[in-house]
């Protein structure tokens, strides 16, 4: 029926993120799809299938909202899927695109991840409807409140100070100053972060990524096709996805401070990529960072630093663009903006880094291997993608 084949990434499509964009979701999808096609030297007819990702329909107020992106994305009359796993859409959708090509069923897939959050006046109200209607929703839980619970568990478990969270924010917002697509590039100090208002202790406003509109695209392609158009091919080396129970009060390790499911996803990806020591074999990482402490948890789960050592990694400058293992040199969600489903931006920036096309965000060291992560669901999904050249 089909054969397994190696998968590469032909190009990525970018556009600026912002709090409120005039573009409709369809127009955003058009922009990034066209950008990716142009960069790869491909045409719409070269694409075999489309897979799109967005977090939840309620942001747009349209059920099956992806169906209105079909024409703008160039997918009219073509194979079309929509994946939606909240924030982890950032990597689970590219993972699906990878599987489509790896299976041999198709050779070229346009992967588009998007979110237009400004269509909705109250994103936290939307998030309240993520929770179980019988037990949790009535409590009024939302993302900041749950993040506060999780952040407290993380800081307590590893004896981490809020100052270390703040340092990560300073780095990311500073990095975003060089990112032409970012909405919140800013020079700030640790004191600025520590003095910003709490939204849910210990998480403060400047520990939090801004609500945003935006989209990203990436073209996943079979090795044979990629070699026809690119003499410096970048391949998907490893993918992994971990998932834990919906019931956050009943996680396997009974500790919200350590994300076992994120470790699982990273382990799978590294095993597939043949990476034994990620802290030395990974050259740059774009970790999913909707909150500063989440970035730290994800750095540790991905083995980029010792468990509980993310703050030290940033404090000692190892995560800077000229550091030994740069972390989100694009500015991440914290600096670039966080249109939830478009978190695939992390993966697109790893491609730009490997290709040496990251502009002023390019890290100093040579980059052959890069990882991106995604996180979502009911704080239950995590995914890791390793890309690089041979």
């Amino acid at each position: 029926m089909s054969k397994k084949q190696r998968v590469g990434v032909a190009s990525v499509g970018m556009m600026p993120f912002n709090r409120v964009l005039e573009d409709t979701a369809e127009e955003m999808a058009y922009k990034v799809a066209k950008d990716a096609l142009d960069k790869a030297g491909l045409r719409r007819d070269d694409i075999d299938a489309w897979v799109v990702g967005s977090a939840v329909d309620a942001f747009s107020g349209v059920n099956e909202s992806d169906k209105f992106l079909v024409a703008g994305s160039g997918g009219n009359g073509k194979p079309w899927f929509r994946n939606a796993t909240s924030g982890s859409t950032a990597v689970s959708t590219p993972d699906l695109a990878y599987s489509m090509v790896a299976s041999g069923q198709v050779d070229v897939v346009m992967c588009i991840c998007y979110e237009k959050m400004s269509d909705n006046e109250n994103s936290q109200k939307v998030f309240n409807y993520v929770y179980d209607p019988a037990w949790v929703r009535p409590v009024g839980l939302n993302v900041p409140l749950q993040c506060g619970i999780e952040a407290r568990a993380y800081l307590h478990r590893y004896g981490i100070e809020e100052e270390e969270m703040a340092m990560l924010s300073v780095q990311s917002l500073g990095n975003a100053l060089d990112n032409p697509y970012a909405q919140r590039g800013k020079e700030i100090t640790v004191e600025d972060v520590l003095e910003s208002p709490y939204i849910s202790w210990p998480v403060k406003v400047l520990d939090t990524s801004p609500v945003s509109d935006g989209a990203r695209a990436a073209i996943f392609i079979s090795e044979d096709k990629l070699k026809e158009i690119d003499d410096d091919p970048v391949y998907v080396k490893g993918i992994g996805r971990g998932a834990d129970s919906y019931w956050f009060m009943g996680r396997r390790n009974n500790d919200l401070g350590r994300l076992d499911y994120a470790y699982l996803g990273a382990d799978q990806a590294y095993e597939m990529a043949g990476i034994k020591n990620p802290s030395t074999e990974v050259h740059v990482a774009e970790v999913y960072d909707p909150f500063t402490y989440k970035a730290m948890q994800h750095m540790e789960a991905a083995g980029l630093c010792p468990e509980g050592g993310a703050g030290k990694h940033i404090r000692e400058g190892h995560g800077a663009r000229d550091g030994k293992l740069p972390i989100t040199p694009s500015g991440g969600l914290l600096g670039e903006g966080n249109p939830i489903g478009a978190g695939m931006s992390r993966m697109t920036w790893t491609w730009l880094q490997v290709k040496g096309q990251a502009g002023d965000c390019q890290v100093e060291r040579d980059v052959d291997t890069a990882i991106s992560t995604g996180w979502g669901g009911m704080y239950q999904y995590n995914a890791t993608m390793v890309i690089g050249r041979d």
Binding site: K4, V62, S65, K78, S99, M100, G242, D244, Q380
Partner: protein, 364 residues
């Protein structure tokens, strides 16, 4: 070269007066499927489920599926906002990309609860984008039916088919099921979107279905997936020719090419087609190449190849899960037909703007 096997199947509906949650219903279907495959939870490596947030009344509506299908601490997160048959296509590719893995494909829908009746209109309305389409549908009591009503009108006018055929087909399809109704009863029922009447629309119900897909099935398999296809058109229904189901035709073209089916009428032993509004079944029959354009109703009324047990008109319509239930039940019923080919189709999107087709070969 690998093929994907259906190692196990399961489906479930609540018993009479039984109060079950989504999670419990999907758990039942999955337990059946794992048992059928002779596998334990530990064997599961991945999952693809389908669900619609607005229909479910919660965002990220697939999250609980993880616990129900035994997917905790596994790669069981993928969720499509499409019909169940789409998940067979995605699940097959997931299995092929990681040979030896065990992929759970499942869907559940609790569409028959009393709450849904109160909110159903609003849920149907938000299926349409707000700028151009929703204002047109603002006065419609049944927004989704309105598009299928337009489709029925376009089809009947284009081909000169009498609207009584719609009632005849629904009467025939529903005859063997719990939702039986005669053509007279259908034609006496209120118009919901002319020419469609309340009786033409399948009754909503609760159901769940699960298939276990794998490239290796040492305990034997129910079926082999010979081909899958899926396609979508613009969700703006004004930009589409509603008198035909082009997404289904495109999906079938892919699936049949992969399966080596060149003469669907002769080679497919059975076809399970979505028939929530009756007109969709006739159009699907034509899109699958089982009837010439305009001859769908006559072919369906004169033959037994399509929906021999009545489809969702007989069993009830659990949106999103129904096509998987139909596929699972057909595989179950065809157990004595090794080598026979089954095609299953399902649609999603406003006015069936998206469609998927899977071709199974029943294993001996």
């Amino acid at each position: 070269m690998s093929t994907v096997k259906v190692a196990g199947i399961g489906w479930a509906q609540p018993g009479e007066d039984e109060q079950l949650s989504h999670a419990e219903l999907l758990y039942r279907a999955t337990r059946q499927a794992l048992g059928d495959a002779g596998l334990k939870r530990d064997a599961i490596t991945s999952a693809v489920t389908t669900s619609y947030d607005y229909v479910e009344g919660r965002n990220l509506s697939n999250q609980f599926t993880l616990d129900s299908i035994g997917g905790t601490m596994k790669s069981c997160d993928l969720r499509l906002s499409d019909d169940g048959i789409h998940s067979i296509a995605a699940g097959s590719m997931e299995a092929l990309s990681e040979p030896g893995g065990v992929v759970v494909v499942g869907a559940v829908q609790m569409a028959g609860t009393e709450l849904v009746d109160a909110t159903n209109r609003a849920v149907e309305e938000v299926l349409f984008e707000p700028l151009y389409q929703r204002p047109i549908l603002a006065g419609a009591a049944h927004p989704e039916a309105l598009v299928f009503g337009l489709a029925a009108r376009a089809y009947l006018a284009r081909h000169g088919v009498d609207e009584e055929k719609l009632a005849e087909l629904v009467a025939a399809r529903s005859a063997g099921g719990a939702e039986a109704r005669t053509a007279e009863e259908i034609l006496d029922s209120p118009v919901i979107a002319g020419p469609l009447r309340e009786g033409h629309r399948a009754r909503r119900t609760d159901a769940a279905a699960t298939l276990i897909l794998t490239t290796e099935a040492p305990n034997g398999a129910r079926a082999t997936i010979r081909g899958t296809g899926w396609a979508a058109e613009d969700g703006q229904f004004a930009n589409r020719d509603l008198s035909e189901q082009r997404p289904t035709a495109l999906a079938a073209e892919q699936a049949f090419a992969a399966a080596g089916v060149s003469d669907p009428s002769a080679e497919l032993a059975r076809v399970e087609a979505y028939n929530a509004y009756a007109i969709d079944e006739a159009m699907t029959a034509e899109a699958l190449g089982l009837a010439a354009p305009g001859e769908g109703f006559d072919a369906l009324l004169g033959g037994a190849q399509v929906n021999p047990t009545g489809g969702v008109q007989a069993t009830g319509w659990a949106r999103g899960a129904a096509s998987l239930v139909q596929a699972v039940r057909a595989i179950e019923e065809m157990v004595d037909q090794p080598g026979a080919l089954l095609a299953s189709q399902g649609w999603s999107g406003p006015g069936a703007s998206s469609s998927a087709v899977a071709v199974f070969e029943i294993d001996g």
